[in-house]
Amino acid sequence: MIEVDQLVKQFRAADGSLVEAVDGVSFSVAPSEIVGLLGANGAGKTTTMRLLATLLSPTAGTARIAGHDIVTDPLGVRRHLGYLSATTGVPDRLTPREVLEFAGRLHGLDRAAIADRTATLLHTLGLESCESRPCGRLSSGQRQRVSLGRALVHNPPALVLDEPTNALDVVGARDLLNLLDTLRDAGRTILVSTHRLHEIERRCDRFVVIHAGRVVAQGTQREMAAEPGSLERAFFAAVEGSGGA
């Protein structure tokens, strides 16, 4: 379960003024649910996700991941959350297997658990054929799957995925989204951000639209994306209705 409660994040700009990147955002994601966090570039999606991942600390408000508060129990959050950043940084010289093993060791998993999780993830993510190839020689889709595997290595109940399909072509994006369906069916709580609405309108159970750091609309898939293309219309209606485009 992911519960976001009146989350606020202010940054000090270069000119000394305060910028509210996230301004009182509240929403929740239940187990076995995929929620799409939608917004244009600069809307506050990445900052919200980094707050949930404990990479940033909130100015006000809080959030709980699997019952662990991001302010008072960040270590608990890190143990129960898998986070995929928008920038796919995987070490060029390591192979997918080594990346997953490294992530497992960082999580303090023992040797047997690392071997087990690595084998499972290489299979689930379709990386067995390239498990010994350095990541620098993989396609962007394969690299993104390695990155997703790194987020899943400790078998977290909740996932926060920041624009996971960003660098992927149509096939890569479809494969990755299919994987998310599998993870949801396995009971995981998934929050996924994107500005590529057409890709996820049939995948998410609910949507949260964020604009200028605020939630301007939220609703179920049936309410916001009942027919093809309707999510885009709902998105623009919400954003324009809030005073921006």
Partner: protein, 255 residues
């Protein structure tokens, strides 16, 4: 136990990165530098044990160690930010601490190995028959220098990661070579005072030093100097770990 696994994993990862052909070539050039200087000195002057010790001190625990640590310890956070891997380390429990301490271990191991190779080559180049006792003495100086200064450089690395190299060079000059030579309490907090004091003590130079120069060494026994460096390194690493734990990088700061 879990924390140790993370630290060892990062140390192994960083050492693997250092084993790239370009890095190894650079290290070999650095290791050969003191020997080249000593060969050049031998062409114009006769070397004796005291002159050799002074040359070795300036070239190995000072120059080679310092340069090795500047290229291995300083980019600890900046590299991760640049490669987009920072978030993946930082979202692990203890990930930031593992990154810092694992990189510290790798930097100490790598820089010590390069400096010890430099020491061996320099002693061979000197060709003095009675220089044998210098080897273990300088090996200890190399380890003390690497441990103390790697920990010192961890501070600029976490405070100003994007300019860690420049900040570390400034710290080296201001702390180690300016404050370190001030005959005041401040020099007690420097690694250079401890290294100099060990050198003077082990070379038996205390009585040969003019009174003015005795102000810039510490007359405590060697074990006190070594414990002081370990204590300083622990304080630096603890402070760096606290700073890194609270460090925030807004999305815009990562490119």
């Amino acid at each position: 136990m879990n924390a140790l696994r993370g630290i060892i994993a990062v140390a192994g990862f960083q050492i693997r990165r250092l084993l790239a052909p370009q890095r190894i070539a650079l290290a070999l050039v650095g290791a050969a530098f003191p020997a080249a200087v000593i060969l050049a000195v031998r062409r114009v002057a006769d070397l004796n044990l005291d002159v050799l010790a002074l040359l070795l001190y300036a070239l190995v625990p000072e120059a080679v160690c310092m340069l090795g640590l500047l290229v291995t310890m300083c980019p600890v956070v900046a590299d991760e930010l640049e490669r987009g891997t920072w978030q993946h380390v930082a979202v692990r429990p203890g990930g930031r601490r593992s990154l810092l301490l694992g990189t510290f271990l790798a930097a100490v191991a790598w820089s010590s190995l390069v400096a010890l190779l430099a020491l061996a080559l320099a002693l061979a180049a000197a060709g003095l028959p009675d220089s044998g006792p210098l080897a273990p003495m300088f090996a200890v100086l190399v380890l003390v220098s690497c441990v103390g200064r790697a920990a010192l450089f961890s501070l600029p690395a976490v405070i100003v990661p994007k300019r860690a190299l420049v900040a570390s060079v400034a710290v080296a000059f201001v702390v180690e070579y300016l404050a370190g030579f001030l005959p005041a309490v401040i020099n007690q907090l420097t690694v250079s005072l401890r290294l100099r004091s060990l050198l003077v003590r082990w070379m038996g130079w205390e009585r040969k030093l003019p009174p003015e120069l005795s102000l810039i060494i510490d007359t405590q026994p060697p074990w006190v100097q070594i414990v002081a460096v370990v204590a300083l390194a622990s304080v630096f690493l603890f402070a760096a770990s606290i700073i890194l734990a609270g460090r925030q990088f807004p999305p815009a700061e990562e490119s």
